[in-house]
Amino acid sequence: MINFIKTYLWLLIPFLWMSPNKTDQNAFKTIKHNVVVNHPGEEKPVNTILSEIQNANGLPIEYTMDVYSVICLEEVCKVIPVKLFWDNTGKYQKYELAKGETLEKYEADLFEPEDYIKLQNILADNDSPFKEVYIDEILTVPDEHGNEDVDAISGATALELDEKDTVPGAALTCYTLWHWANGDVVSQIKSQTGKSVTETQLKNFILDSDNTYFHIAINELEVRKLYSKPFIDVIIRKLLEDASLLRPAYKYLNHTSNEDYLNASKTLFFQGQKEQKLVVLQSLRQTQQNIPQLYLDNLSSEVTNLNSYQEVSLLLELMQDKNPNSPKVIENTFLLLDVKFLVARRAFWFLKNQKLNDSQQKQLNSFQEKHKNKL
């Protein structure tokens, strides 16, 4: 008998104190969901039960699913039930074996204590090499150390895994469990968490430092068609901190009212950095929403504060498309003729297409004469 209990406890300990409110077991609620999960090792989708554990506030805090670890090499198969645990974003946490069960390797070797730890590390790595391994590669590898290779001639298969990436002799177990832990079920857990939480919890999700919660929340807001100001304000707050979320957020913002869309864009443009400004300008160019001239004139007053050629160029493209010949925009753009040459040249060609007064025309002609060889 291997020292399984010891290993199991070792694995469990970190999660005991990491899970909030776990001491108040009575407040927890378990909801069972019938789900259909795809696994690359299975020919057909698998019908199974995903258990959602909610705390006293109805917040999903953990999910579990019972799966099978298949050890099957050279016609010797042993099937062992395994319980997998995820957090509420679908991130794998740990595994448990049924009481008295042990994992085995090729040729009936038992898992050593360090093999259980290694398996945990493999399953917790959502970018493990098992992501890319094809099941046939494992099933046809003769010696489990990956020392077979592909010859030039036929379709013989290859598997090369560093020892650190696999439990030698148990590649199929690693493969099977990795895909259960990190496969199709992850997106289903995210979706279920979104469905389960309250509107207040959704707002908390938006501001959470883990952006996975933002994506769960924004998807759920669209599902529930929640486009009101309190949600938009929280989203703007988050977007000003994290530009990487701008594009998924704009898919949401495009569905808000004209007033909310324009206000959100204005806040992001004036308070945001380069990334926010660029996304706002691109959105304003492409949107079908109505944009008043005054709104655009107002944006143009920021032109001298823009730090990059790209922002200036995009702003001027927006003005050319949606607010041509605006005296205010022209006036603001003239200020650019004295800055860095690439920006000045961009401003020059914009102004060249605008209706100018005599004084402005003179000023523009003077610029043209001065830089005639570089335009």
Partner: protein, 640 residues
């Protein structure tokens, strides 16, 4: 057509259809065998004349490439595209060598480095992509024609099939001419060229030129090779005869032919596996410890016997119930060769150059297949594993130019399995896509030889940077050698930026590295489509060419396989990442002018050529890929 012309052409065709055996005896010269002697008794019924047929044409080219496999095709196309007038002399009726329908080996390359491919780009990738567009059904005979199309469409290139370069005519230490026998026309061509490239595998022309070569295995001591035998010997890895079978949907019987050699698998190494047997078994292999070329016909007969013996074992031993409904639907008659002559260059690549990743200043190609040395004896020594797979590479290795030209024949280069390397080095570099990279390198070098009127060694010594830069421009990847082309005006721009970015940076497009490698990102990727990248110059530049390298996912294999495998490592279609529709614009007097548009792009290297124009900026507009959500680029170049 006039009646007389009809008869004239018809008669010629009828005569050309014959052939004479390609037999040379010790007392015969080429004059003895060519059918154009004055005593010829041809009476032409159409003209009523007695004539002497002309069967000795003389042709002149800038470069003669011997061999039409992956290496030869790439050598010829590279030289042709770089301005040389080329001929390919191919002794088979089809192109492709080991990958042709005659042999059907997968066109492997660096298929698997730590679970991902590090695929070859350049001409060989173009061929494989062309096949993905033109041969969706993954037929080997159609692949023959895809390669044929790829070659004959090149304007500077002449293809001679069924033609074997049998003898070199020397002038000092240079090959002056190659005598080439065309079996279908009974012609003995004299091919004159200043540069010859032998990509034929066996290297008959190079051998007759007196180029130094060796066969067999080096002993450990000579190159300090871990995996070499203690003492040198004559063993050369065998050739393999392949087959394929088909599920007929009902039980199929099989009885072996008279020449089958009984196979029992008794005492076989456990690593001698049958996985994928329905598509051929690579260890049905026979080599030689003496003269493998002289043994070729004897070995072919044996291999046919072994092939049927193994298939008999699969069908009738009772150990393969899954083979019940299978029947052979194609059997090879031409074994695929792995090894014979290795010619000597100024440098001999050996095991440690590869495993220790030696940096070569003259690197022009790369490899990364394992050190896959097949066992001495092949199927006649089944207690040994069929291959030792000595060493698996964790990163690609460089291959130097000095190993691709002859040490003692001054105008001779080579590419493929016959290059200057040890037996152990060959066990990795013999893979076809690696050979193809060598081919593109020597083809490009040949064009430089022509342009500069010099010999290959001088190119290596004085113009290696020019050679490397041209290869990099033509989308060859050279490990750890970023491009730095002084003619590339994109590198002299003041600003580059992209409309959106989801990963990488537009600045990466000018860093000279055309793939993500060594843990570094060298790409720009859009965030959705459409997207654009813009380059700005402070002062106008005159442009007539813009060249892009888009993504074709070099981490996933695209060669045609018999099992049509389609997963994370192998793709059986067009890479979804590749750009499909794009256009470019130049800014002239403040306005954008269209410079080119492509709606059905088929290559990683995308070239736009247009009339010279002075612009202050260039914009690349990308609107569609073959399925990917984002566009990804690795390089932008601009030329006058």
């Amino acid at each position: 057509m006039k009646r007389r012309e009809f008869f004239k052409k018809g008669t010629t065709a009828a005569i050309a259809a014959g052939s004479v055996p390609m037999i040379f005896t010790s007392c015969a010269s080429t004059n003895n065998i060519v059918y154009d002697k004055p005593k010829d008794k041809w009476y032409h019924l159409g003209t009523g004349k007695t004539g002497t047929p002309n069967r000795k044409p003389v042709k002149n080219y800038d470069v003669a490439v011997i061999g039409g496999g992956a290496a030869g095709i790439c050598a010829a196309v590279a030289a042709a595209r770089n301005g040389s007038k080329i001929v390919i002399i191919q002794d088979r009726p089809v192109l492709g060598g080991n990958a042709s329908s005659e042999i059907r080996v997968h066109l492997n390359g660096v298929n698997n480095i730590k679970g991902k491919a590090e695929r070859e780009t350049g001409i060989i990738e173009e061929i494989l992509l062309h096949n993905r567009f033109e041969n969706e059904q993954e037929s080997f005979p159609v692949f023959d024609h895809v390669m044929y199309d790829f070659v004959v469409r090149e304007p500077n290139l002449t293809l001679m099939l069924n033609t074997q370069a049998v003898e070199a005519v020397m002038e000092g230490n240079k090959i002056k001419s190659a005598l080439c026998w065309q079996a279908t026309t009974e012609k003995m061509f004299t091919i004159n060229a200043p540069i010859f490239i032998d990509c034929s595998g066996d290297g008959l022309l190079a051998a007759t030129a007196g180029a130094e070569y060796r066969t067999g295995r080096e002993g450990k001591a000579e190159f300090n090779e871990t995996f070499a035998p203690d003492e040198p010997d004559g063993w050369q890895m065998g050739a393999t005869l392949l087959m394929s079978s088909k599920d007929m949907g009902k039980p199929m019987t099989y009885s072996p032919p008279s020449y089958a050699i009984k196979y029992t698998h008794e005492g076989a190494s456990k690593r001698r596996k049958f996985a994928g047997f329905q598509d051929g078994i690579w260890w049905i292999e026979v080599g030689s410890d003496d003269d493998i070329i002289a043994d070729a016909e004897e070995n072919r007969h044996k291999l046919m016997g072994y092939l049927h013996g193994v298939w008999d074992y699969i069908k009738n031993s009772g150990k393969f119930p899954e083979a019940k409904n299978l029947a052979l639907d194609w059997v090879g008659s031409i074994p695929g060769r792995r090894e014979s002559r290795r010619f000597i260059g100024d440098y001999i690549v050996s095991e440690r150059d590869m495993t220790e990743h030696k940096h070569f200043e003259d690197a022009v190609a790369f490899g990364g297949w394992s050190l896959d040395e097949h066992n001495p004896g092949g199927i006649e020594n089944i207690s040994e594993p069929p291959s030792y797979f000595h060493y698996h590479f964790k990163e690609v290795y460089q291959f130097p130019f000095r190993s691709l030209y002859s040490k003692n024949v001054s105008n001779l280069m080579f590419a493929g399995r016959n290059v200057s390397q040890t037996h152990i080095a060959l066990s990795s570099s013999r893979i076809m896509a690696t050979c193809a990279l060598q081919g593109q390198a020597v083809g490009t070098a040949a064009a430089i030889c022509n342009k500069r009127n010099m010999l290959p060694r001088e190119v290596g010594q004085k113009h290696i940077k020019e050679l490397q830069e041209q290869l990099l421009r033509d989308d060859v990847f050279i490990p750890k050698r970023p491009a730095n082309d002084p003619l590339d005006l994109a590198r002299k721009s003041s600003l580059i930026f992209a409309s959106t970015s989801s990963s990488g940076d537009a600045k990466n497009l000018l860093n000279g590295m055309s793939r993500d490698i060594d843990g570094k990102i060298n790409h720009w990727q859009s965030d959705g489509l459409s997207a654009n990248v813009q380059i700005e110059w402070e002062a106008p530049v005159s442009l007539s060419k813009v060249e892009l390298k888009c993504d074709s996912n070099v981490k996933r294999n695209i060669m045609m396989r018999k099992d049509s495998r389609n997963d994370e490592l192998f793709n059986n279609g067009v890479p979804e990442e590749m750009l499909k529709a794009l256009s470019i614009q130049g800014r002239v007097n403040g306005s954008w002018v269209d410079l080119g548009k492509i709606e059905q792009n088929r290559t990683r290297l995308i070239k736009f050529n247009f009339n010279p124009l002075k612009v202050t900026a260039v914009k690349v507009n990308m609107t569609e890929t073959y399925g990917a959500e984002n566009a990804k680029l690795f390089e932008i170049r601009c030329y006058t």
